[in-house]
Amino acid sequence: MSALTLYLPRDAAALAVGAEGVAGALAAEAARRGIALQLVRTGSRGLLWLEPLVELLTPEGRIAFGPVQAADVAPLFEAGWPAAHPLCLGPVERIPALQRQRRLSFARCGAVDPLSLADHEAHGGWAGLRQAVSLAPEAIVQQVLDAGLRGRGGAAFPAGIKWRTVAQAPAKRKYVVCNADEGDSGTFADRMLMEGDPLLLIEGMAIAALAVGADQGFVYIRSEYPHALRTMEAALALAREAGALGASMLGSGRAFDIELRMGAGSYVCGEETAMLESLEGKRGMVRAKPPLPAVSGLFGQPTVVNNVLTFAAVPTILAQGPAFYAGFGAGRSRGTLPFQLAGNVRRGGLYELPFGLSLRELVFDWGGGTASGRPVKAIQVGGPLGAYVPEAQWDLPLDYDAYAAAGLVLGHGGIVVHDDTANLAELARFAMEFCAIESCGKCTPCRIGSTRGAEVITRIVHGPAKAQQVQLLRELCDTMVHGSLCAMGGMTPYPVLSALDHYPQDFGL
């Protein structure tokens, strides 16, 4: 062996379990043996329980080894990276958890160097933008409508309708804003995409700009994601170099550029109007709607605000046609959703799949049940504002409308598994406490209700007059649901009431 090509993620999750140490060990061991090592740093495939995942390039394709620790490196070199090694997982594309996915938005993520224009081109990059450049703006919007793409941030509003509203709004200046303030616990798809295929997001935003006639874009990235921010910064420079951004996008004669902005640790800035305030340099206070951001958004101008995953779905729609994209999914939830499995789960990670499978399949078939080996007690779907789903509802199809009909939310596709040691009364109180910490304070039900809610839950658990306090909590939640300006106060009751309804024993009831 004199030359070797290996792939190793630089994704923050891989770094968090020692990828940098592995990279150092690989370089040192190769040097010691006089082997010319080409180490390609990629995003993550999303099989996070296998990180750090090393892939070896062979004439038959890439062979995966994982999880590899620095101490495994010298023995792997010594043995010659054999297929019989206990860490060898075989051809990476044939790992069942990868092979059985339907990766549209994450097709390149984990496979390519995210900061290589050559890799991007070689794997179908810019195809969607090229197609968009050849179309009239209305035709782009129509394709997004025909694909049935709904906003992936949580609200599931049809993206094409939002784009059409912005396109038709008369204004001197329009903006395209990407909401990358992925604050929901249990979600990391935006982060993985920005670290693993940032050019895809840029491409999606550029297509949106063509569709609505915007010349300026912003990506609002949370401060908890320093790695994603750095990768995006480098990717923007590459996109300008490739001519995908700048004075004439891919020679279209249309100008568009993107600026990065960093959030500052405010969960509510994931709400689109609070994010716009933050982008304008103010406190992240929610705005009353109407006017919608599509009519009067950033700096009062018509603004497309979409989540990372919404923009990331668009290049596929343009490149392969709306019918292809709409061919996946269930009901009115078309396409795929990158589901994110987290918490107490054996095989946690990102699984991009068509809508419509059940929570039971996802948590048990894909996730392998709990990491602790104990029974699953509750599964929170849709982030901190999503309900705790009890076993009776684990067979519902995961699509926006089936979930909404059952009083649940799919949100951003984050799923947090809890085993039977979880105390749902404590989690319900935490939901209220979190709301109290993160409330922007503009509306009373959220600002005051959250603090009172945490107190009432404590009194239910510890106090004597339980029935009276339960009634008080329900009335308070009703006020929050119907009286709050945004989802922060309006949906905090989802986890609280679902915990109360399905796990009353945890409240001492």
């Binding site: 923050a12 999750a13 770094l15 968090a16 379990v17 996070l48 329980w49 990180e51 992925e182 604050g183 929901d184 616990s185 249990g186 979600t187 990391f188 935006d190 982060r191 401060s223 908890e224 994601y225 320093p226 790695h227 600026e259 902005r261 960093m262 959030g263 500052a264 640790g265 405010s266 969960y267 933050s278 982008l279 304008e280 340099g281 103010k282 406190r283 992240g284 700096f299 994110q340 499995l341 987290a342 918490g343 107490n344 789960v345 946690g348 990670g349 990102l350 990491a371 929170q380 901190p384 984050g414 947090v416 598994v417 809890h418 085993d419 979880a422 989690l427 935490f430 979190f434 993160e438």
Partner: protein
Amino acid sequence: MTTPLSPDALAAVCRVIDERRHLDGALLPILHGVQDALGHVPDGAVPPIAEALNLSRAEVHGVLSYYHHFRRHAPAKPVLQVCRAESCRTMGGEALLAHAEASGRCTAEPVYCLGLCALSPAVLLEGEPHARMTAEKLDALLSARAAG
């Protein structure tokens, strides 16, 4: 009265202001720049920022104090951000935070989600991510850091 900035700190603040005042909605980028340069945003930075952006000091203070990320005092020890959100909570994150606070070896700050939820519990130590964290691993990390 706020303590005036040292000449070096004032120069750093002015540099950041000059670089970023032309941006649309420049206040957050400026506050980030100051915190990156000085490790925190001292009260003495507020008047020059307010003047440059034609805002009142109260407005700048309001923004500065709204966002959890901005620190108004220099941290005495390495900053350890410990996730307290649901996923890490169900995997022992609260005990980890209590351990970090009790150790007295770091400035422990709560944070709500680092996006490492499939490998909970997670922390950022001086900006570097570490996941599947335990009290023992944390002690070893802090010791390694102290040893340089």
